[in-house]
């Protein structure tokens, strides 16, 4: 289906100098070469070209200073070349070579070099760019953060979350919208309500507008907007009207031929070539040599190769156990607070963002109490927007800070899913270890408080096992302040910390039931073991908020049923070290895994698989106890009856130990 011609390009007043032509034609020739390389089968996946839009990147790059940052999108080659000029690095990257800017790991949409980043996710990059801008502001640098979006990106809510905070917090964030009239193949007439600038102005953001058919004017406009953001520490919006002369990607162009023809006719580069053929030919030949040289170099370079990715897994064997002694007996909530307080005193890079976390309210569960008073400006209430909170955290982490994001209820982590899955966990690897993302996302999970289906879940399994991240679950047998000490001192990747709601009021204690001893491994984030003397009849594996119930079951199993169980409770859920569990199961042969979330494709399933893979045969009988396969009911007694608790653990353990 073809679309009608809605609007022709404005009259051309290109004002293109030889120098501007050189910058733009480099971008175009690189992309044209990419298309031919694609045809030759030398590229992987697809490419999104910006042919026709080259001057957007050129205009922005003209106004930037060292230290300014750019976050670009899937159509980023032009922005990258305009800012860095690294033809060799880009060409090699797209050809999957080790000499690429990201070692061939990132590819077309995931570039990183000297403060230039790109990611192929629409919308999510804007909160990240806002985080970069927030960091610029905290650093007290006269630097801006620029984010490139397209008019298609305007459909994403994340954009507006970021606009709000950028305006409210006076962030030096420049939003550049390349308005090329199409979201992939869909005309904006079908999807865009109102007009674009009004949206930004509604947030109190000053807007500018220019187009790529007036490149000289566009450069001036961009400079004015960027200088405003820099000088006033305010967000600025630039609408850059333009037109993509080639397909969105490959073979997905069904725009009207007439429309395309009209825009091609007004293409400033073609016009320059017509008007100044000698100059254009000379520059073109020179640029072509640069491009061909880049291709030739990349062609000789080796492909990106598998490298050992440090998975931060504790050295598995042997398992060293030490008796646990907790001098602290305070409540968990106070211990987390204490951990934050002492680390924030020590390290000014730690900043906290979240909902309702400033004092005197101090968070829904009072973890942050009066930290905002002791550390002015470093503990900030944010609007209700979990995606933004974690996105800002990502930006802060990329720009030299140690952000802690509080998600008020673990259920809301789903709203931050894009930031965790497509941003936080990806940057380090796909940018070829040029960056780390020392981000802490902490959130209370769990039920039994009558909060019902959407405020009681344990949904950590959906975020467990993202390569390049760690997931921790604190509990009352190991001081959470020590967990946070370790995190703040050695964090080099996103960490999701699960804090069970019911545990907040529980006191730290090393007094385990009589007849058992408390031990932990010597890992950074230890695994706890509650061990009877001699061989146990079964091993119970659990984490976080399930531990107190498992301990109670331990007592009942012994007192009433003559069954001795050993408990293994890791803090670090991912990457998981299965060996402390294997060691126990090797003796008992029976494993009961208790988790409060769902077991299908969850922690228990994964653990059982790992044990069986790592030590075939030790596991003789297995049982999983987890959340029921329906949402959590509001009715208190019903909720308690269906969520794993002492009674269900007992029943499961008895069933398991019936096997001989």
């Amino acid at each position: 289906m073809s679309t009608e011609i809605h609007e022709l390009p404005p009259a051309l007043d290109h004002g293109v100098s030889a120098d501007l032509y050189r910058q733009a034609i480099l971008i175009r020739k690189v992309e044209q070469r990419l298309l031919s390389l694609f045809a030759e089968g030398k590229l992987f996946g697809t490419v999104h070209t910006c042919i026709g839009q080259e001057f957007t990147g050129v205009a922005v790059a003209e106004a930037l200073r060292p230290g300014d940052l750019i976050f670009s999108n899937h159509r980023c080659h032009g922005h990258f070349l305009a800012r860095t000029g690294d033809t060799d690095g880009l060409m090699a990257e797209l050809m999957g070579r080790q000499t690429g800017v990201c070692g061939g790991r990132g590819g077309s949409q995931h570039l990183c070099k000297d403060g230039f980043f790109s990611n192929g996710i629409q919308g999510g990059i804007v909160p990240v760019a806002a985080g970069l801008a927030f960091a610029q502001k905290l650093h007290k640098r006269q630097n801006v953060s620029v984010v490139f979006i397209g008019d298609g990106t305007l459909g994403q809510g994340a954009v507006y979350e970021a606009l709000n905070v950028a305006s409210k917090w006076d962030l030096p964030l420049v939003i550049v919208c390349e308005n090329n009239r199409y979201s992939q193949s869909t005309s904006q007439h079908q999807t865009l309500a109102g007009n674009i600038r009004d949206r930004f102005e509604a947030f109190g953001i000053r807007t500018w507008q220019g187009d790529t058919w007036h490149p000289a004017d566009l450069i001036l406009t961009a400079a004015e907007a960027i200088n405003y953001a820099r000088d006033e520490s305010r967000p600025a919006f630039i609408q850059m009207d333009t037109y993509r002369l080639m397909a969105h990607s490959k073979g997905d162009d069904d725009r009207a031929a007439d429309e395309l023809k009209a825009f091609w006719a007004k293409d400033p580069l073609q016009v320059f070539e017509t008007e100044q053929p000698e100059s254009a030919t000379a520059i073109g030949a020179e640029v072509s040599r640069v491009v061909e040289a880049a291709v030739a170099k990349a062609d000789k370079a080796p492909f990106s190769c598998a490298v050992d990715v440090d998975e931060n897994c504790p050295d598995c064997k042997p398992v060293h156990w030490a008796p646990t002694q907790n001098d602290e007996t305070d409540r968990i909530v106070n211990r987390i607070h204490a951990g934050f307080q002492r680390n924030m005193r020590r390290d000014p890079r730690i900043v906290m963002i979240g909902e309702d976390i400033e004092g005197p309210y101090g968070g829904a569960f009072k973890v942050t109490k009066n930290l905002s008073l002791e550390f002015p400006g470093r503990v900030r209430n944010m609007q209700i927007a979990e995606g933004l909170i974690v996105g800002m955290g990502n930006g802060l982490a990329l720009n030299g800070y140690l952000p802690v994001c509080e998600i008020m209820f673990g259920d809301f982590l789903a709203l931050a899913g894009d930031q965790l899955i497509n941003h936080a966990s990806k940057f380090r690897y796909m940018y070829n270890e040029q960056v780390t993302v020392p981000l802490i996302v902490r959130t209370p999970m769990g039920g039994k408080r009558g909060y019902a289906a959407t405020h009681s879940q344990s949904i950590e399994k959906h975020f467990m096992g993202m390569p390049g991240t760690i997931m921790l679950a604190i509990h009352h047998r190991y001081d959470p302040a020590l967990v946070y000490d370790e995190l703040f001192q050695s964090l080099d990747r996103p960490a999701i910390v699960i804090e069970n709601k019911l545990l907040y009021g529980t006191r730290i204690s090393d007094k385990v039931p009589t007849g058992f001893v408390l031990e932990h491994t010597r890992d950074r984030f230890p695994t706890t073991r509650i061990r009877p003397e001699g061989r146990a009849d079964l091993t119970i594996l659990c984490y976080g908020g399930m531990l107190p119930d498992v301990e109670k079951s331990l007592e009942a199993l012994f007192e009433e049923h003559e069954i001795i169980a050993e408990v293994i409770c890791p803090i670090q859920l991912y990457p998981l070290n299965p060996w402390p569990i294997i060691e126990s199961v090797k003796a008992s042969g029976k494993l009961l895994v208790v988790e409060e979330g769902l077991s299908f494709a969850g922690f228990s399933a994964e653990t059982i698989a790992q044990i069986h893979e790592s030590a075939p045969g030790v596991l003789k009988y297995v049982k999983r106890l987890a959340s029921p396969r329906h949402p959590i009911p509001a009715c208190g007694p019903l909720e308690k009856a269906v969520l794993p608790g002492v009674d269900l653990i007992l029943a499961a353990a008895l069933e398991l130990t019936r096997h001989e």
Binding site: A322, G515, G534, F558, E562, K586, P616
Partner: protein, 468 residues
């Protein structure tokens, strides 16, 4: 790279976590043949020669005196005299069994499970389990048999079968520890009472405790053909024992109980009960100690007295008396004991007739010191009441004679000059504090051992092997 196999330290003694390297028989780097003694190792019980499980060149770093953990690497045997570089590489032989190191070549997948057990470090010695914790069934069984919960100290979690093991097997396999003998008569003296004619009578119900006591004693008496033998023993030995042992076990009752317990292993018919033509021999020596200091007769039981040191026995008696005086004795009947000791010396009584308790075959009475006419040397009586259905007077006499000898021997031990000990100090058994007695064939040796607290000690053969 040469092939190098780690040699692991085998488990010789179940309770040991480490061994001590006493001596290397082969210098490091030298060649050893399979079966040739590599080292002399010492466990808490014994020293043993550790043979090389394979031929090759031995490499080790552990020095004499080191205490490596069971299952850890003692040394490597390689096919080269050159010390291999990668000793830490995870090339592990399988866990040794039956005291012999089995050698497996590296086979990552197959040995994956074995690796766990080998790499598992010895449990931390500082871990203490403290007082035992009983399951409900175990607690019921303990109460039923009047067992002292302290028996299970440091045993962690105690279940029904743990208690059954202690009292001699699962319930199906054994008779009750102290069976109640069924009599058709009511639990009192067999003959019907006959009042003195013409004398008015006031009726007083006996206390519940007293009635219980009667029931048990009557049951014991009714099932027994009781006979009594007695010997007089010079008091000097006992006095010497009290003085020598001092605060460790300086308690005459403790010394007598301690010695009786060991002797009962040799005279099992006194540690038994009679049942319809059968001698039922107890496999433990649990000595009831009759106590009556004004709060009624109670017989708390010293469990497994034959394997306890004199200090332990003395401590337990002290605790028992304290508990008696403070009315906190958990054991309130005579059941549970396999033999009884009753000491009335404190009352000045020199001779009495003790009554055999239910489910037992003998009771030993201890009388007060007295001086036979014309003698300056004090003596005291040991009185053994026993069930003639099982034993006879000659055996009872031998028992008492031997017990008398043992008690008197303390004087010899105390009075004899200190043997030429290596250390210069008198060599004593670390457990019972006996010295070497040249006259006692059982006591000619003291065996060097490592005591539970890790210090060096010596055990007499009696304490080491038990009475044979």
């Amino acid at each position: 790279m040469s092939e190098s196999t780690p040699i692991l330290i085998p488990q010789e003694i179940v309770n040991d976590e480490t061994v001590t390297i006493l001596q290397w028989k082969i210098p490091t780097g030298a060649r050893v043949e399979a079966g040739q003694v590599l080292a002399e190792l010492e466990t808490s019980k014994t020293a043993f020669d550790f043979p090389a499980p394979m031929a090759g060149y031995v490499h080790y770093t552990l020095a004499v005196g080191a205490e490596p953990a069971i299952g850890s690497v003692l040394c490597h045997i390689s096919d080269s005299a050159e010390r291999p570089g990668g000793h830490d590489a995870p090339k592990i032989a399988a866990a040794p069994t039956n005291g012999h190191a089995k050698i497996h070549k590296e086979a990552a997948v197959e040995t994956a499970i074995d690796v766990i057990s080998i790499d598992h470090p010895a449990p931390d010695r500082t871990v203490e389990f403290g007082a035992a914790r009983f399951s409900k069934k175990a607690a019921a069984l303990v109460a039923q048999h009047n067992l002292d919960p302290a028996l299970f100290d440091k045993r962690g979690l105690v279940r029904e079968h743990d208690v059954q093991r202690l009292i001699g097997g699962p319930p199906a396999d054994i008779a009750p520890l102290a069976p109640i003998v069924q009599t058709t008569a009511p639990a009192r003296s067999v003959a019907a009472p006959v009042a003195a004619a013409g004398v008015p009578v006031r009726d007083e119900v006996l206390s519940r405790a007293k009635r219980t006591e009667i029931k048990y004693l009557a049951s014991g008496t009714a099932n027994s053909l009781t006979s009594i033998v007695s010997v007089s023993v010079p008091t000097r030995g006992l006095r010497a024992a009290v003085e020598t042992l001092g605060p460790v076990g300086g308690n005459a009752t403790a010394v007598i109980l301690f010695e009786s317990a060991r002797l009962l292993k040799k005279y099992p018919l006194f540690n038994a009960y009679y049942d319809d033509g059968h001698a039922k021999l107890y496999e433990q020596v649990n000595i009831g100690l009759a106590v009556d200091a004004g709060k009624g007769l109670k017989v708390p039981v010293i469990r497994q007295a034959d394997v306890k040191s004199i200090a332990q026995v003395s401590d337990e008696i002290g605790e028992t008396v304290q508990a008696y005086l403070s009315d906190t004795l958990s054991v309130e009947s005579l059941a549970g004991g396999t033999f009884t000791l009753t000491d009335l010396s404190g009352e000045g009584i020199t001779y009495f007739h003790p009554l055999i308790n239910r489910g037992q075959a003998a009771i030993l009475g201890v009388g007060a010191e007295h001086f036979p006419p014309g003698s300056k040397e004090g003596v005291f009586n040991l009185i053994l009441a026993f069930d003639h259905q099982l034993a006879d007077g000659r055996m009872a006499g031998k028992f008492l004679g031997e017990l008398s000898d043992r008690l008197t021997a303390y004087e010899r031990a105390a009075g004899s000059p200190a043997p030429p000990a290596h250390s210069g100090a008198a060599l004593r058994c670390s457990n019972c504090r006996r010295t070497i007695s040249p006259t006692d064939k059982h006591n000619r040796f003291l065996v060097p051992v490592i005591l539970p607290d890790g210090s060096d000690g010596r055990l007499c053969l009696i304490c080491f092997d038990g009475w044979m």
